[in-house]
Amino acid sequence: MSNSKFTAGVIPEMKRDYIHRLASKGTRIDGRNFDEIRPLEIVKGYAKRAEGSALVRLGRTKVLVGVKIEVGTPFPDTPNMGILTTNAELAPLASPTFEPGPPGEEAIELARVVDRGIREGHAIDLEKLVIEEGEKVWIVFIDIHVLDYDGNLFDASGYGALAALTDAVVPASRYELGDDFKLPVLHYPVPVTFAKIGNWIVADPNLDEESIASARLTVTTNEEGHINAMQKGLSGTFTYEEVQKVINMSMNIGAKVREIILGDSDGKED
């Protein structure tokens, strides 16, 4: 997709006024509290050909993340580490504003923000993915496939990536390198995104909210309450006090989301 806008269509002024009016009464267009995320549902093991996968429904946003694991050569500067690479595809079936073609800047930013959380949060133990130092390592590909876009792809994709990694099995037997083993997961970094609408800040914005937001901030925190990644977006600004508030809310919401991601799911869809 190229040159398309994340914000689908032009939201009528009326809806903007409506969202503002609701916010002044402390509520939102879908009835949520400011710090409440949409219903989150995760199905692990959805794509059977993948080494790990997760289908995420965050409200009406739907994202499928697949993990493929292959053998490859390590980077020269990290001979004793496996490789992690993340890619995002805004499939044109997901929104009237997504166009076919090479990834645009939105898809690249999405992939890089998810990657940053997983990488800096040390979600996977790359040192355990070495087959032969300097020669052969496991390469973990995280592919984010956006299927239905109703806002906040950062979080849906981040949850899907982490869930898919916890679901993943390294296919060692396929390469005659011994028994398959579970991908070693060390930490559980979870992103939470906030939008600034007027002077209000709401968690997990849906598409309507996203399209009238002035600024956006994603904060990725781990199970120890440490911050691993942040990304601010859009042309509005935040005050320092707002940033502090957002970081705190991110930790609280992140802890609840982490429980859902780590919860049992047998992968049998419907």
Binding site: E109, E120, L217, I227, M230, F238, Y240, V243, I247
Partner: protein, 241 residues
């Protein structure tokens, strides 16, 4: 960030490998109006960084479908010269440059009165000629001067500045070694007058106290850098008696 090593980044006296204190900036030099053809331009040396910024516009946005009926679009392009880093960088935008160009465009838009120039584009080109960590924030600082030099109306002179964590200590303005072997980097862009935050990224591992400490440190340093920007503008525009 986070390459494991035995390198000590802070010595027994609490000094960093280049002799700086934790809250000390690298030397910064700025010059306004360095390019002939551009509508506005600026050059910055920040530690080992050498970066040039040029502004073209407001001019008719092209292709036409990118025009916006009610405002100018801001298109910043962050680019690294192939020889700006140790290992030659392939020319053309990589994924990192695409992301940085996007967040820099958004940060610059926060200060520009875009509604004054509908259907136009304001193009900001940032060329990193020599890189030494902190290129995006140095680039924003230079871009801000180039915008002022081009006479673009703005509500503040935006400043870029980064802080981070090395050897467990929160420090200002990481250099290349600190960026490679340190534990966290927090690049920011700040509106010095109102202290609003227009760009905020972070990667690494920090506690809440460390992160807020880093943000406060960068916000404080932004005031210093802002004064240098004003001096640089005065050197070009105020006649010496």
């Amino acid at each position: 960030m986070g390459i494991k090593s035995d390198i000590r980044l802070i010595d027994d006296n609490g000094l960093r490998i280049d002799g700086r204190l934790p809250n000390q900036l690298r030397p910064i030099k700025m010059e306004v109006g360095v390019l002939d053809r551009a509508d506005g331009s600026a050059y910055i040396e920040w530690g080992g960084n050498k970066i040039m910024a040029a502004v073209y516009g407001p001019r008719e946005a092209y292709p036409k479908h990118v025009q916006e009926a009610e405002k100018a679009i801001i298109r910043a392009r962050y680019s690294m010269a192939p020889f700006s880093v140790d290992e030659r960088k392939r020319p053309g935008p990589d994924r990192r440059a695409v992301e940085l160009s996007k967040v820099i465009s958004e940060a610059l838009e926060s200060v520009i009165f875009v509604e004054k120039y509908p259907r136009t584009s304001i193009d900001v080109y940032i060329e990193v000629l020599q890189a030494d960590a902190g290129t995006r924030v140095a680039g924003i600082t230079a871009a801000s001067l180039a915008l002022a030099d081009a006479g673009i109306p703005m509500r503040d002179l935006i400043v870029g500045c980064a802080a981070g964590k090395i050897d467990g200590v929160v420090v200002l303005d990481l250099n290349k070694e600190e960026d490679n072997y340190g534990e966290a980097d927090v690049p920011m862009a700040i509106l010095p007058r109102t202290r609003e935050i227009a760009l905020l990224q972070m990667d690494g591992d920090m506690t809440y106290e460390e992160l807020t400490g880093a943000i406060e440190m960068a916000m404080e340093a932004a005031q210093t850098i802002h004064k240098m920007q004003i001096e640089a503008l005065k050197r070009k525009y105020v006649e010496v008696e």
